[in-house]
Amino acid sequence: MEWETVIGLETHVELSTRTKMFCPCAVTFGEAPNTRCCPGCTGMPGTLPTVNRTAVEYAARAALALGCTVTAHTRFDRKNYFYPDLPKGYQISQLHLPLGREGGLDIGGKYIRIHELHMEEDAGKLTHGEDGLTRVDYNRCGVPLIEIVTRPDFRTAEEVIAYLEGLREILQYLGVSHCKMQEGSLRCDVNLSVRPAGSGTLGTRTEMKNLGSFKAVAQAIAFESRRQIALLEGGGTVAQETRRWDEEGGVSLPMRAKERTEDYRYFPEPDLPPIRLTKGWLDGLRAAQPELPAQRRARYQREYGLGEYDCRMLTSNRALAEFFEELAALGAPPKQAANWIMGQVLAALHARGMEPEQMPLSPRTLARLIALVEEGRLNRNTAVKVFEAVFDTDGDVDAYVRAHGLEQVGDLTLLTEVVERVVAANPKSAADYRAGKEKALGFLVGQVMGALKGKADPAAVNRLLRERLG
């Protein structure tokens, strides 16, 4: 029988606010345990939550960018359950009146419907020791999250990855989240079921947690589809349960039977009044919304005449795209600018383990470098060396070129002289070339370049040699 996999996604995204969702503790990553905590986020008696205004704003901006209808009267609810990483015994979340509803995201021709987007707080972190104890760190507890729940619109892992990439791109563009899977600021749970191809009803689904990378998402989907199909083909049934993806073992393992919603005993959070998002406030957010990746890609094709691949690469990160636009505005030819960014700039960032947001080089410096190449005053290889030299300090390109005497030799008389000398000193190579051995020319070009310490335009040297030997 042909089977079809049906997937829905719940994505948790940490918002990049300075403070936690419901208390003014700083949000930072990698601090010593329990040093970013207060009586509030450790749930001490008598403490009360206060809503972070910026978190609401970020969540609303995400909801707008994802085409959601924003709930004018939004409200928090308590989700009650016991676990050591949850200090209050309830998570402040949203069930009845989530911030955003019914949006969607286009993933290259297919539209994935978003059911809702709601705000909530993150839980603490548990570390299981070999000594029979679990250590609890509440630094992460209370970090603002948005949870984005899709409809079961995915059929393949590729679609899921495309959605996650699109989502990440948008949220990074908005500046509302870093969306780093390795740091846990973007996490997703996969709801998956299978059914005979063409069937109109949904099968029993499982929920998979602990997916730490796009690779894990793809592997987990493949594994879980196979597992469910094998179960059904063997005459068995799929149990509705929560499963944990074991990345090392490459298998999903049952965690617990799925809770019923009633078990969470949701009710409106009595410590927080509902929030009324006025039209004026939302209009303000809409007006301040940055250009999103899809719009920007279309504009790059139109304005700069770049190909689709270049546009996609440049717009994949907002800082990178802005860097590109500044380069172009400073007069760098768009295609050259794009090549530099996708080549040297990304490589340099990668080598240093940096994000585009941390780029030390200014567009002005790179623009100057590109201009020198365009004017024929630096050859491309030398320019790359200069780039490496000035990258970390955003150094002065002209000063560096001057100090190191790197300007390209453009003097035709000097070039001709050197060519004469090299041909005279290497009669065998000259003869070889004349006998039809193209390779010999390369050797001679290298000799000329070496004599000029690489400061000549290789194309010009090539041309002069051919003329001389022709």
Partner: protein, 92 residues
Amino acid sequence: MGITPETVERLARLSCLSLTERERENMAADLVELVDCMKALAALDSGDGAATPAAPEGLREDRPIPSMDREELLACAPAHDGESYLVPRTVG
């Protein structure tokens, strides 16, 4: 929605309370009485407790204030190792 021993058992589990046999029996009787009293609510219209909403402008500004000294925080804890709170090992 009758109250049975299983109801009490389930509520105790959800509430993370271990009850003695006697407590269980007493609770069942009390719950029956209280739930009976709640029946008066059944005929009413539902509301949503319209609290006065807050405007986003009035919410807390996103400005950190120093967290509490860890020692002071952990001093309240029944079990800690100077850095973290300790609980019996959780599964998974």
